[in-house]
């Protein structure tokens, strides 16, 4: 049963909360002096990098800190009552009933052995003592509310039969079943694709209005917080450093960390030559090695010894409803532009080094693995791919999971051979040459940087050994000394100290590992480097540094960079040309300006609209795609995008459903679509920067 139904004060009031974890060696403070309040119907964002304590706050609200976590100071009041004073039974009643939580990984929140309907019905049966029929009706209603097609069928399905986006919608439905007063969302969309993410965000916003639920939205993505929240609280190393209304914090920030954060993410105003990203120097302090005074002090541009490191710094008023934890915020000139860069402009793209024409890759999947019998099915991973990459050019390959970008990368690397078409590297066709048949120089010409920094290095080999191994395989030098010298030079190149050669990967941070990965890829002076989402798993402040490094090396070595990503902000920032892929097809190809301006392919249009941008001046058109990406095993006939396209009605006849559209050429800007010239001309830009 709900408590205090008539209560109308703040739903959640956290006052000077401190949480510590206790280990055998020492106390580790995870959250210090943290205050926030959530009003009824309000959405508050909690932003910060990994390890800043934002999830610990959520666990503290749920009173679920485990054996060694304890609240060591402050109070958490829910609807005016202190949670610390409640009994276990009362807390159980509140969890899931009045406070619901949604986690990052939807599959981990659902019981894989229970049908969706049953799991949803449990909520009202358990908390409100509803009977089975009422519970079923309620489940059906909620599933309809989260906009899942065919709710009755979904209720009868098991979790694994749904896609990731559908699963997350079910988790949201489950959280909403008990009509909670407070919803805590802990990175609810991080595991999902951009267009799916846009759908979920839209849904969460709508439901917040419809049910009047208050929300605590935890995320590392500033753009997402801008789109969903009314107020925001920025955390750094266990402390809230700034809080206030969204517009206030985003446009009139009063804490150096917030400013540094905004300067390190690729906003539309950033530009790789004129206004490059500014990485935050130094590393995130470990919880037990925090500096005295301001935690951000050692990395801050405005640091003043004697004041910033003298005593603990309190939160201070910086305007109406706006607080900052900085002693110097009145003195800092917040409108000063970042220092202009003195970087040389990127060299103009040279001659083409890689030509791909009419490339196809089909996989045959046998129905029966043991005998190879049964009906073989064909997965069309790549269909008629045509493009060219020039020397010292950055070509971005954009698309969501399952679009065939990894298959393309594998064919370039020689891990797979093409079914049809050609890949020309230099003067040689390599589409039928698996990597075993390529010579050392050909292998070293095409190298790769991987996505996950925790996986990219072999954990049981020293850093130096891994780079040296690449040099050995690429036939570099005549002796071990030669190779060691070159390895040390490579460490210099990626700006790592030479002592790192003898370290094990576990002693390195994520960004440092990624640098070693880059050094390894450039070991043989690669002509083409395929970077598969090289920064997406890194924290915002580290992303900028690694991106910068990659571009600097590219400039020096005149390397061609194939940058695979789903993040259009970073792609816009660093690439010269963009290739958009969907379900194995290249649907659009053009320079960055061309792709970001109309005419668009309908999929690019949706993709652009889905990317959250952390800039209050940006006005975006809302285009939310229905449904999920079709399976490559069973692609739709005709245009691959026709099942989700919002322009489909404009094309006469059933052309979209029957015929694969031709590649249309607008002065080098290519779009694969049936739409008429007039329709293309009528398209409006998705992203517009509003005048000041």
């Amino acid at each position: 049963m709900k408590q205090n139904p008539d209560y109308d004060g703040p739903i959640l009031e956290i006052d000077r909360l401190s949480i510590s974890f206790f280990t055998r060696l020492r106390e580790i403070p995870a959250v210090m002096d943290f205050s926030v309040s959530v009003q009824p119907g309000e959405a508050v964002g909690l932003v910060g990098e990994s390890g800043c304590g934002k999830s610990t706050v959520a666990l503290g609200v749920m009173q679920d800190l485990g054996v060694n976590g304890r609240i060591v100071g402050g109070t958490i009041k829910f609807k005016g009552r202190d949670l610390a004073e409640m009994s276990q039974a009362e807390l159980r009643d509140i969890r899931g009933n009045e406070i619901a939580m949604i986690y990052q990984e939807p599959m981990a929140s659902l019981n894989p052995a229970m049908k969706i309907g049953k799991q949803l019905m449990e909520v009202p049966i358990l908390h409100d003592g509803a009977d089975e029929q009422a519970a079923y009706d309620m489940a059906l209603q909620t599933v309809t509310d989260v906009k899942l097609p065919d709710p009755a069928r979904i209720l009868d399905a098991y979790p694994h039969q749904l896609s990731g986006g559908q699963q997350q919608r079910i988790v949201i439905a489950m959280a909403l079943m008990s009509k909670p007063s407070l919803l805590i969302l802990d990175e609810p969309t991080t595991a999902l694709d951009v267009t799916v993410e846009a759908g979920i965000v839209e849904l969460v916003k709508e439901l917040g209005v419809k049910y009047g639920t208050s929300m605590l939205f935890i995320s590392h993505n500033l753009g997402l917080v801008l789109e969903t929240c009314d107020r925001v609280c920025v955390m750094y190393s266990g402390e809230a450093v700034e809080d206030g209304a969204i517009a206030e914090v985003f446009d009139r920030m009063r804490h150096p960390y917030t400013q540094a954060l905004f300067r390190s993410i690729p906003l539309p105003s950033a530009n790789k030559t004129a206004r490059p990203l500014v990485a935050i120097p130094g590393n995130f302090p470990l919880p037990h090695e925090r500096p005295p005074g301001c935690n951000f002090g050692p990395r801050c541009d405005y640091f003043e010894a004697g004041r910033c490191d003298a005593q603990p710094i309190p939160m201070r008023d910086a305007g109406p409803g706006h607080n900052s934890r900085c002693v110097r915020f009145e003195e800092i000139d917040w409108d000063a532009p970042p220092e202009a860069s003195d970087k040389p402009p990127a060299p103009a793209p040279g001659a083409p080094v890689l030509k791909v024409s009419n490339l196809k890759k089909y996989y045959e999947v046998a129905a029966n693995a043991l005998t190879g019998g049964g009906e073989a099915r064909v997965v069309k991973a790549n269909e008629t791919i045509d493009f060219e990459a020039r020397e010292s050019e950055t070509l971005a390959i954009v698309g969501e999971s399952g679009c065939g970008k990894s298959t393309l990368a594998k064919m370039l690397m020689g891990l797979e051979t093409a079914t049809d078409g050609t890949i020309t590297l230099g003067n040689e066709e390599i589409q039928d040459k698996p990597i075993e048949d390529r010579g050392p120089s050909q292998v070293s010409d095409v190298q790769m940087v991987f996505q996950n920094p925790f996986d990219t290095l072999n954990p049981s080999m020293t850093v130096g050994r891994q780079i040296t191994r690449a040099l050995e395989v690429f036939d570099y030098g005549n002796s071990d000394d030669d190779r060691r010298q070159r390895m040390l030079q490579l460490l210099d190149l990626v700006k790592l100290p030479r002592e790192f050669a003898d370290r094990m990967p576990r002693q390195l941070s994520g960004g440092q590992k990624q640098r070693v990965g880059i050094a390894r890829a450039f070991a043989g002076d690669a002509k083409i480097v395929v970077a598969d989402e090289p920064v997406s798993a890194l924290d915002v402040s580290v992303q900028a540094a690694v991106t910068d490094l990659l571009m600097e090396i590219q400039r020096e070595h005149k390397t061609t960079l194939l940058f695979i990503s789903h993040d259009l902000s970073i792609v816009r920032y660093l690439s010269d040309r963009i290739m958009v892929m969907y379900l194995g097809h290249v649907v659009e190809l053009g320079t960055t300006e061309e792709v970001f301006a109309p005419p668009y392919h309908p999929y690019t249009e949706a993709l652009l609209s889905a990317v959250p941008i952390a800039d209050t001046h940006v006005v975006k058109k809302q285009i939310v795609l229905e449904g999920d990406i079709p399976s490559a095993m069973n692609p739709p006939p005709g245009c691959p995008f026709q099942t989700r396209c919002r322009w489909k009605e404009k094309v006469p006849g059933a052309l979209c459903e029957t015929e694969v559209p031709p590649m249309r050429n607008f002065d080098g800007h290519q779009i694969k679509c049936h739409l008429s010239e007039e329709d293309f001309a009528s398209m409006e830009p998705v992203i517009q920067i509003a005048a000041e």
Partner: protein, 479 residues
């Protein structure tokens, strides 16, 4: 001379102490279990220095009593050892005699533990073992038998009398009986067996056989399992299907029947065990060869040198091992030594029993690890599949494999006992523990001591290996 009592004069003081300490431990343990049912979850308080403390209550009190009782027990046991070393059989009876006989083992154990604990922060996983009580106890038990094997078998510093020597009048004599002849050690500390041999001496001599054969046989099983498991997991597909099917087939075969088949004269005449050994003992050579070649293939000169250095001695040993008179394989003139047929059987059966399980573990780990980016990175720089399997995948699968290796030595030791018990494997007069237990079993109800001594030894070694594996697993999971 009078027969020795178990603890002699030292026992007059220590025996009552031991009884009290054991009783106290038992009572406090029961109390602790009962207290945990009735008292609520402990409150944790925070000290001003930033550490957390469990509030003292009834459970805290009982817990401390239990701890003190345990210390008292351990103290008494140490007193037996120290007293025994000091007084020998003259003052401390049978126990004293044995403790003094083991003096070099005790000294080495103390030295090893002191050094390891002193340097534990710089010794990696081995050092971390000394953070876990369970692991330390296990390691202590295992090392006790390892040192016994070394000092008894190699340096001959432990013993007492010849394990094969029969002394008339000592048949089935109880522990502590004085020798009827002069010369040598004046007592049979653990009595005599049905052939009037010294049970204690046989137990010590048996440890050498067990400690040498069990790890070696397990190592072979691992080599075979790894060599097959890696490609099965890495390539997958048909190869995996076939190999997994074969592994299941062997697992489904009754092992005892297999052992009997292997020693049946008709089968031996066909040369099957010899051929099997030929294939089996080739595994380490292949393994080492591939290991070296895949690593140094880019520098052929160095690769050939290393291959020659490593493989030549291995090949000589291999040829000597597989060549034996009176078997179908007898072509090598430089046959330095022969492995007794029984030991060959032991190796073949251990490999047969263990390698399918090792195969499955390695295959599973490989399936997991091959999806990592560093494997993809190795592929994209054109490494050979065997380099990836042996240098990228295998080192990262080492954690579970080391733990399984420890457990499996334990199984092998028991299997060795089982084989000995059936009269297979080692020659009948061999003092190894399995055979000794088998021999002692015949008069078990009248004279239990010849069987109990080796049984306890086997138990303590296997227990030690299990605890060691537990400790390793626990510590390897921590940071």
């Amino acid at each position: 001379m009078e027969p020795l009592t178990w603890t002699g004069e030292l026992g007059d003081i220590l025996d009552p102490l031991l009884g009290i300490a054991t009783l106290a431990l038992a009572v406090t343990t029961v109390f602790a279990i009962l207290a945990s049912f009735v008292t609520p979850t402990p409150r944790i308080t925070v000290n001003p220095d930033g550490t957390a403390a469990m509030a003292e209550g009834l459970p805290g009190l009982v817990g401390r009593a239990q701890q003190n009782a345990l210390y008292a027990l351990i103290g008494t046991l140490v007193a037996y050892i120290v007293g025994g070393i000091a007084l020998g059989w003259q003052g401390a009876g049978i126990i004293g005699g044995m403790m003094r006989a083991f003096t070099p083992v005790w000294l080495s154990l103390v030295a090893l533990f002191a050094a390891s604990i002193w340097f534990k922060r710089s010794l990696g996983l081995y050092g971390k073992l000394f953070d876990s009580t369970i692991g330390m106890i296990g390691f202590g038990l295992v090392m006790f038998w390892v040192f016994t094997a070394i000092f008894g078998g190699v340096f001959d510093m432990i013993y007492t009398s010849d394990p094969l020597n029969q002394v008339s009048g000592m048949k089935n004599e109880p522990p502590g009986s004085p020798l009827t002849e002069d010369g040598g050690y004046p007592f049979y500390l653990l009595g005599g067996d049905t052939l009037a041999r010294d049970v204690f001496a046989r137990m010590v001599a048996g440890s050498t056989i067990v400690i040498v054969i069990a790890p070696f046989a397990t190592l072979f099983a691992f080599m075979v399992g790894i060599t097959l498991g890696l490609p099965a997991g890495y390539y997958g597909g048909k190869l995996d299907t076939v190999l997994s099917f074969l592994a299941n087939l062997i697992l489904a075969f009754p092992v005892i029947l297999l052992f009997y088949l292997l020693v049946t004269p008709e089968i031996v005449q066909t040369g099957l065990p010899a051929y099997m050994a030929m294939v089996l003992f080739l595994a380490p050579l292949v393994f080492m060869g591939v290991l070296i070649w895949s690593r140094y293939r880019t520098q052929p000169n160095r690769a050939w040198l290393l291959l020659a250095l490593v493989l030549t001695p291995m090949a000589l040993v291999y040829l000597s091992v597989i060549n034996a008179d009176d078997t179908p394989i007898d072509f090598w003139p430089l046959d330095f030594f022969n492995i007794p047929g029984g030991i060959l059987v032991v190796f073949v059966s251990v490999v047969f029993v263990n390698s399918p399980t090792v195969f499955r573990i390695v295959r599973g780990l490989t399936l997991d690890i091959k999806t990592r980016d560093y494997v993809a990175a190795a592929q994209t720089r054109g490494e050979t599949p065997w380099y990836i399997m042996l240098w990228e995948i295998l080192p990262n699968a080492r954690g579970p494999l080391i733990v399984d290796f420890c457990l499996r030595i334990g199984y092998t030791t028991i299997l060795l006992g089982t084989l000995g018990f059936f009269g297979l494997g080692l020659p009948p007069e061999s003092p190894d523990w399995g055979s000794t237990i088998n021999e002692g079993r015949k008069l078990l109800s009248i004279y239990p001591h010849p069987a109990i001594a080796p049984a306890l030894a086997l138990l303590s070694l296997v227990l030690g290996l299990n605890l060691l594996a537990d400790g390793l697993r626990e510590e390897s999971l921590r940071d």
